[in-house]
Amino acid sequence: MLLEVKNIDAGYGFLQVLRDVSLHIDQGEYVCLVGPNGAGKSTILKVIAGMLKPTSGEIRFQGEPIDGLPGNRVTRKGISYVSESMNLFTNMSVEENLFMGAYTIKDKKIQQDRLDFVYGLFPRMAERRRQLAGTLSGGERKMLAIGRGLMPNPKLLLVDEPSFGLAPQLTENVFASLDTLKEGGLTILLVEQNVTKTLAVTDRGYVLENGKIELQGKSSELAGNPHVRKVFLGV
């Protein structure tokens, strides 16, 4: 198992958000975490990525415990986190942002190879390489955020709401890129509100409601599940 999350409780101050959350991901899987607004999906990603300390529970990555490690150490273990608000360096150019993504890589040749890879995946980024990140459109920022997360060649990619606020065509593009990455062997954990699309492309899914995992299973089965259809699709 690449990632094991066991019995995680977490929250913000006095507000407990996650209750006894457990999930796991194997190498090469494309897993999604869906749920209504406020369920705690972003929170679980933040806990895995080291941005938030859990109050109890354990997280193991490649067998090693990583719960409680700060975000920069988690990145160095091979987990890249693409947040919902993207956290781009707005006063730096696209290319500078991407190079910052490769901060943990010392070898200049590898950095350049990764840059070429990201530009190959997102040609739009190559076109705008000198543009300031703060001036990019919403879809371009998402691409840049994902691109930056890919620079250190992570073993696991955590993506929070990649299609949020994007027009349908751009959403297609982003999902297509994630598919390409999956084909290339990257393990991806996706958090999304767009349930239909997400369950269509992923292997497995977890349904999070009110901070608890209510359902889990193969995405194709979840898509047909009556509870899922009722809660998310109003059917």
């Binding site: 941005m51 975000g71 920069n72 990145t75 956290n87 360096f89 730096m92 901060y103």
Partner: protein
């Protein structure tokens, strides 16, 4: 080609920043022609010091989100260290005139101030700001501001307690005839310190713009979470920023020991001037603070020349107040996101 250049220039002048720089250059030329080149020398030397102290204050504000009101005390630490290094050395030099040490002793004193200032900054970060960061980020700006006021009290009174309230000055750093250019005599001290200041600022810029660590510092100032996400060691960067900031404030103090003797509250004026400059140009804008240092120095020198030495604080600050009424985000605009929101 000339047309497009002049078009770009007239566009630039219409911005607040461009207009200010343009007017400052005109003012500098006017008073130099009227009173003589020594005015320009004063502006450049004072401006260099103000620019240095203001730049690092802007950096600390932008990177650490700390409103550092003890900044002047690191200037004081620099000048105090330089005094206690230089005085015994100059005693030795009095008995052995012409020794090679005569050139190096001031540099040793100045560098000593730099190092001690850096250590003091690192200690401050480790003992004051890091524990607070671990504990709670709520009300960060207000809390750290209050803490820096406390640090200031401790450092000022520490100086007085351990070293006494007297003025600890030196006659001069380097001996020898003053240099003269264009009928102006500039002392050796001012000349050497001026070149030293240029070198320091240049190295600082190279560091911030072209090294991996410098880029990491800039990244942290733009997006903390993003910096963590790319693997930057946040605590380490905080420590480095504080150490560099305090070291540079200290080197301003140590290199200007020949102009400003060391005493407990010597840091007050550099502190006020640095803050005024940082507010004038826009919070957190390091490049702006550099330029602002010279602009404010120009205002000060012009005031002293035409109005009187006693007004050298009142009129520049008055002008700045008026500027801020019309452009509260500062003449070069703020580079800091949400300082007051955190």
């Amino acid at each position: 080609m000339v047309k497009s250049f002049s078009k770009a220039l007239s566009g630039w002048i219409k911005t607040a920043g461009g207009l200010t720089i343009f007017l400052s250059i005109i003012l500098a030329i006017v008073i130099t022609l009227d009173r003589g080149p020594y005015v320009l020398v004063n502006v450049v030397v004072t401006g260099g010091m103000l620019a240095l102290v203001a730049m690092v204050l802007a950096m600390i504000l932008g990177v650490m989100n700390v409103a550092q009101f003890a900044h002047g005390e690191y200037f004081m630490i620099g000048s105090l260290t330089a005094y206690y290094i230089f005085t015994p050395l100059s005693g030795y030099l009095d008995q052995h005139p012409g020794a090679a040490l005569a050139f190096w002793a001031p540099l040793i004193a100045i560098l000593g101030g730099f190092i001690v200032g850096g250590i003091a900054g690192a200690i401050t970060e480790r003992m004051v700001f890091r524990p607070l960061r671990k504990r709670s980020r709520e009300n960060w700006v207000m809390n750290t501001f209050l803490l820096t006021v406390g640090i200031s009290v401790i450092l000022v009174n520490g100086h007085q307690l351990l070293f006494g309230p007297d003025f600890k000055g030196i006659v001069k750093y380097w001996s020898g005839a003053p240099y003269s250019i264009m009928d102006v005599f500039i002392s050796r001290d001012r000349t050497y310190v001026f070149f030293l200041a240029i070198m320091v600022v240049l190295l600082f810029w190279l560091f911030m713009a072209h090294t991996r660590t410098g880029r990491a510092i800039r990244a942290v100032s733009q997006d903390e979470t993003g910096a963590l996400m790319v693997g930057i060691n946040y605590d380490g960067i905080m420590m480095l920023t504080m150490a560099i900031g305090c070291a540079l404030a200290a080197i301003a103090g140590s290199s200007l020991l020949f102009m400003f003797p060391s005493y407990p509250t010597v840091g007050l004026e550099p502190l006020y001037m640095a803050w005024i400059i940082v507010i004038l140009v826009g919070l957190g804008n390091i490049m702006g603070a550099f330029v602002g240092g010279f602009i404010v120095a120009l205002l000060k020198v012009a005031t002293v020349e035409y109005v009187g030495a006693g007004w050298d604080f009142v009129i520049p600050v008055g002008i700045i107040i008026i500027v801020l009424i019309f452009k509260p985000s500062g003449i070069f605009g703020t580079a800091v996101r949400g300082v007051l929101d955190k």
